[in-house]
Symmetry: C4
Subunit: 124 residues, 4 copies
């Protein structure tokens, strides 16, 4: 299996949309990091969260199995501390094996609407 | 004609939106890979699909003619197996000639709304 | 003034949304190439349009003045031939000086809605 | 702390959406530059704004503290001159330390709708 991607990825523009409207869980607002690990080795990736007005928090640790993707909702991160909704943040993901990381946001703050945005994360 | 782009491209954040609302086929939800082959050689590109909870599936094979684009809807892939809608996936595209690949999603899961998102794929 | 960017940029995923709804001209659907020329030299950029089922068409020529941006609507291109709306295409922009190119789409095909998507173009 | 990113970033496709609809301040339209400074040194970043029909304006100066993010709304820039809403622009951000920059737009020009788009800025 190929080793492709980078070991470090950055997303500066995080802010989990809140509140959400519409049927749950499909229309819950979220920020998501989508990780693809094409290698044959399991990867324990770590995430550091940066804020405007406080020291970085982390590492948050998550497992991405060999030859697997994982779509990580920032909303779901609770250890070392829960991510506060609607608070601006940025994040830095590190992986022991090369991976590729994409950022996706689903925003349903305005009742009856759905907005999406996303971008490939920045590889270092 | 120039040879431009890369031989391998990655999109980690796939999930074909389902169900869809609005007149078909214009407002069918989809994930799309847009491929540009500026070379003078026809390219049989191959696609491997990665999942959260199963081994990768592929290769899916598609032809992109010389000096042509092709907009490939992930929804339409059926061989070696149909892509399940609303299931998280990532994908890895390989081409024998350099190409450029862009990802686009159209989401009409919420009746009366239309959401788009996209990004350039990640070149390896 | 700095010389920054690249001489060649690619966008594979074009398709000018049609029809449009809502007040014009603000809510006309469009695909747009946004070009920044930070150099001190005027740039005559050229655009080649690639299709799924026909030979490339071009060059379309446009001037981007020194130390200026230009937001080019694909809809407005008419020479050597008008761009057909709602037809899949890709494009290749060449510039004699380094520039930076971003792609933006505004989609108002569904009455009462507005969808946006975009990405940095791919530099070669 | 790691030094990651680039010293210069470009966004060619700016245009602050105007007018806005919906409750303020949540649904005010904006263009935003999201900056992550993972270094241990405070960064005074500078921004030059490029136009279609006038000389560049700048530098706009902003502080991004060490180990912090900052989400900068273009709408809020007033010195050396206020940014005119609904006017096409591009921008060039420079930083004395490596940073990562993402562009985000929130558009509520059409009453009852919310559209988002964004992309990583282009590193030079």
């Amino acid at each position: 299996m190929p080793e492709l991607g980078a070991h470090t990825w950055v997303v500066p523009g995080g802010q989990v949309p809140f509140p959400a409207h519409g049927p749950e869980p499909e229309f819950t607002g979220f920020d998501q990091l989508c990780v693809l690990n094409a290698t044959d080795r399991e990867a324990e990736v770590s995430l550091d969260i940066y804020y405007e007005d406080a020291e970085p928090v982390g590492p948050y640790r998550m497992l991405v199995k060999a030859r697997r993707i994982r779509h990580i909702r920032i909303n779901d991160l609770i250890d070392p501390e829960a991510i506060q909704l609607d608070r601006p943040y940025g994040c830095l993901l590190r992986s022991p094996v090369p991976v590729v990381v994409q950022f996706l946001r689903q925003d349903t703050r305005l009742p009856g609407t759905l907005a999406l945005t996303g971008t490939m994360a920045h590889p270092v």
